[in-house]
Amino acid sequence: MLEFRNVSKVFRQGWLKKAEIVAVKDISLLIKPKEIFGLMGESGSGKSTLGKLALGLLTPSAGEVLWEGKSRADLKSLPQEARLAIQGITQNPYGVFNPRYRIGYALAEPLIYHGLLQNKQERLFRIRETLKLINMEEDCLDKYPGQLSGGQVQRLALARVLLMDPRLIVADEPTTMLDLSIQAQILHLLKRIHEQTGAGILLISHDLPVVTALARRIGMMYGGRLVEVGTVQDILNNALHPYTQLFLAAAREEAFPELQNSSNNPTGCVYRGNCYRVQELCAAKSPELIPVGREHFVACHFANEVKNG
């Protein structure tokens, strides 16, 4: 179980670090064990930052990231099992392998480093087993990452992560750089892994079909905030946040939105510059996620009004 508790991440830049970029703002979210949660939003909405916060690659500027109830602020103090419980794969599969090493070493390296499987035979056995799971031939072990195709490298990246027995896999745009048939392959693989190992998946993507094919719940992000959370059905059939509605319309090619105003409003609702529902309250107060259904939450002051017609 992964919990974000009022997590914010601010990047400071420029002279004397005066320029602030708020990537993620006050996000609270619970990802249940063995759940596939889809995180959606446009580029720059903070979804990748949230993924990196989950992986521990970034530390939150405020708030806490908790795994099984324990804070991940000081990773080193956690027992190894908890430390390695969350693993990730990324958009560019070629990038994640050191070009200097053969795949065989790259797969074995974490196992050796963490002392997970010291026995060489056992290690090789596990690696072979995992290769079977991802449908790869053993001869890839002697190859360098540059000698393999994008889909193959992405599957191997997944294999390396699987060897560490993660409880949650953060998949940040795992299919964006692959062509359609390979995308389907990776998605099926993720699904199978989820079913066989029971690992949860935090699937970060801007691609609606990818997320709806896999996820049970979806979180919609805009301007560093979580604007709507719900099951796939809630979001697809009953989206209540104006941004989610716009996003879905765009994904279904019903509308081609052109957002005029930046999402960088320091106070009030992040979306108010583009919202058709905007009223005075929106500038004054930032909306909290309010429940509108059993698992359905919307960060809009007027969500209930809209819902009730």
Binding site: T90, F97, P99, Y101, E109, P110
Partner: protein, 276 residues
């Protein structure tokens, strides 16, 4: 196509010359015609002949035999100094580029101060203060030599650090030490080797220069720079004494320069330029 052949030729030529030099250095005791230290005062300033191929010097010693033995000193000095420079410089560069920003700024500031000194003059001054001797010469040549490597490696680390596989290494739970030496260093190694082969020529030339000025190894020891120094006094009467060591230095420097250029072109790096 022409450039392709050009690339290979400089590399091949370098390898031929260097293999020859290495063979001479290794087999030196068997290649000499006479004892390189043996003086023959009856036969001073003799020109090249069948017995003394490159003639004899002002003390009647065989120039050819001394030149052969001198190959060892020059190559040995070059290899030791360049290895030390590369080792120290790479370590400082790795740590500076990978460590905390404050530490990096401090180290880079110090390096800038060091680089502000005119290198040759400082080397000469240090060699002069320490006095002659092989070890002192090495110290003088290493004192500033590593700075270039440090800056270079730091730059590489800064750009490698942003690559995805380093971030992935972090999320796989690897420690900084492991990332530094197992992931960053191997990716810097190629350019470091290219830089080293280019530096080699400069170091050998500088070492010969120090010896020429009497700041190197012991005077009686066959060293090319020192031989050149002795020969310069008799340039009009017995030019062969200075000419042959000079040629030897030239060929060696040329070989390492060609190697550096060839390696750079072969590795298609492009990022390595002659520095310092």
């Amino acid at each position: 196509m022409t450039s392709f052949i050009m690339k290979r030729t400089s590399f091949i030529l370098a390898m031929v010359l260097l293999s020859f030099l290495a063979a001479v250095a290794l087999l030196a005791p068997w290649l000499t015609l006479h004892d390189p230290y043996a003086q023959n005062l009856d036969n001073r300033f003799a020109g090249p002949s069948g017995t003394y191929w490159f003639g004899t010097d002002d003390l009647g010693r065989c120039v050819y035999s001394r030149l052969i033995m001198g190959t060892r000193v020059s190559l040995f000095t070059g290899i030791i100094v360049v290895s030390l420079n590369a080792l120290i410089g790479s370590l400082v560069g790795l740590i500076s580029g990978f460590g905390p920003k404050v530490f990096d700024s401090i180290v880079m500031g110090l390096l800038d101060i060091l680089l502000a000194f005119p290198g040759t003059i400082l080397t000469l001054a240090v060699a002069g203060i320490l006095g002659p001797g092989f070890l002192n010469m090495i110290i003088a040549l290493t004192l500033l030599g590593w700075v270039g490597y440090a800056r270079f490696v730091r730059g590489m680390v800064l750009s490698l650090k942003e690559r995805e596989f380093i971030e992935t290494a972090r999320s796989l739970g690897f420690g900084s030490f492991h990332i530094l030496f197992k992931h960053l260093l191997p990716n810097c190694l190629g350019p470091i080797i290219v830089l080293s082969s280019m530096e080699m020529a400069g170091v050998i030339l500088m070492a010969a220069g120090l010896n020429f000025l009497g700041l190197g190894v012991q005077d009686s020891y066959p060293e090319w720079g020192a031989m050149l120094d002795r020969g310069k006094n008799y340039l009009r009467t017995a030019p062969h004494i200075a000419t042959f060591p000079g040629l030897a230095i030239m060929v060696t420097v040329l070989a390492f320069n060609l190697l550096g250029d060839g390696l750079r072109d072969l590795l298609q790096g492009g990022e390595v330029t002659r520095s310092v």
